[in-house]
């Protein structure tokens, strides 16, 4: 679900169960992106989920409930599958672009995570499941609402349009859907494990 009131945004292991945090600190209604990343990372570390994306013990038709009393905390195989495909596409996109630019993960000085993800993302968890590359965590910047903030800055800063033009000039659009290398990379990044070195 979207990052709205009741969305699980953080999960951590706790003796005999899981500590679940929701947006608005209210009854859990489902997972938002960062909560799903946490849940997958925690279950993976516990061995309940395997790197293939399967549960070690099939959870049955009710799914795996992080809070046994609340069915909205259930995680299903199909959720994990959707997550794997989304994170695989994201990591593969980064890997492919970096490769095209002739660089490696270690060359990244800043990695900016924008959008709603930028609120509560747990970087170590995102790295453990292979969504973000294994670079020093202090190089990862979480910038929520970056798009709007950027627009605001463009409009309010004198000469902002020149900065914008300079950025545009050194930006190149790459259509990943036309690259066979991207397809291959996508499949390579589907496993639940840290992002591998560039080929």
């Amino acid at each position: 679900m979207a990052a709205e009131t009741g969305a699980i945004c953080r999960v951590a292991p706790r003796a005999g169960g899981y500590a679940i945090e929701t947006i608005g600190a209210t009854h859990a209604r489902g997972y938002c992106g960062s909560g799903l990343i946490d849940a997958v990372a925690v279950l993976l570390a516990e061995g309940r989920l395997k790197p293939s994306g399967r549960f070690a013990q099939p959870p049955g038709p009710e799914g795996f409930r992080l809070d046994p009393a609340n069915p909205r905390t259930a995680l299903f195989g199909s959720d994990v599958d959707a997550f794997q495909r989304a994170k695989g596409a994201t990591a593969a996109a980064m890997a492919t672009l970096l490769k095209q630019a002739g660089m490696d993960w270690s060359d990244l000085r800043r990695l900016c995570v924008c959008g709603a993800f930028g609120h509560t993302l747990d970087v170590a968890h995102a790295q453990a499941v292979g969504l973000l590359p294994p670079i020093e965590p202090d190089r990862v910047e979480l910038l929520s609402d970056a798009t709007l903030a950027g627009c605001e800055r463009l409009l309010l800063t004198p000469g902002g349009d020149q900065d914008m033009r300079a950025l545009l000039e050194c930006t190149k659009a790459v259509n990943l859907s036309k690259l066979i290398a991207y397809d291959e990379s996508y499949i390579t990044h589907l496993r639940l494990k840290p992002v591998p070195p560039l080929p």
Binding site: K50, P51, S52, G53, R54, F55, P58, G77, S78, V80, D81, Q84, R85, G88, S177, K178, I180, D183, E184, Y186, I187, T188, L190, R191
Partner: protein
């Protein structure tokens, strides 16, 4: 020994662990198995076993499907490089996504399975015009033209499979090539393939392998 290798290999593939699969096959070679044995006694049975397992298993997922096909294809390629003589090829397929369709992943699963099943595959890429499907099939002396279409309009439209069929008819090539289709719209309507002029369809990679091999055998008994 072979049983232990098969067991270890199947386990690696089921866990979608490519490195482990490579390690098992390398070890099998070190223990004296030939590359041919590895492909025919280990890899091919595993492809069939895995796809059956995945198809039957309600917990199996699409990500697993992609990874399984990729492992089969990469292991086969590694072993083919070590074959004493070029392998007996079942037949040849040209494959691509329909005109207007850029969804290439379904095609990749099918290609992985076909390569592991000793079918030669010529990948025409995405957004392939109907004329090119036919021209390449002629140029490569293929038996089957495989068209992947993931959207209703590319699966049923006039510039996709229907046009491939029309060109085959117009050029008098219908007895030389079979057409097989795959993609979501054909799964929703299992009779759709006939309507667009295909000879067969398949719901997933391994089924595609079977359907395509059957069609090849109709032309190359």
């Amino acid at each position: 020994m072979l049983d232990a290798i098969i067991k270890a290999y199947n386990e690696a593939v089921f866990e979608t662990d490519k490195e482990a699969a490579f390690a098992v096959t390398d070890q099998a070679l070190a223990q004296g198995l030939t590359a041919e044995d590895v492909v025919f006694k280990v890899v091919i049975p595993a492809v069939e076993e895995m796809m059956t397992r995945i198809t039957r298993d309600p917990d199996a997922n699409l990500a697993q499907h992609f990874m399984t096909a990729q492992i089969a294809s990469e292991v086969t390629e590694r072993m083919l490089a070590r074959f004493a003589a070029p392998p007996a090829i079942v037949g040849r397929v040209v494959i691509g996504t329909a005109h207007g369709d850029l969804h290439s992943l379904g095609k990749r699963i099918v290609m992985g399975c076909l390569k592991a099943l000793m079918v030669e595959v010529v990948d025409l890429g995405v957004n392939v015009p109907a004329e090119r499907f036919v021209d390449e099939a002629v140029a490569h002396d293929a038996q089957v033209i495989a068209v992947s279409a993931m959207m209703v309009h590319t699966a049923t439209g006039e510039n996709g499979v229907r046009k491939v069929r029309r060109i085959l008819r117009d050029r008098g090539l219908e007895d030389r090539f079979k057409i097989v289709v795959g993609g979501a719209p054909y799964r929703f309507d299992n009779e759709l393939y006939k309507d667009v002029g295909a000879d067969g369809w398949a719901a997933d990679g391994i089924a595609a392998g079977r359907v395509i091999i059957d069609l090849i055998r109709e032309l190359k008994p």
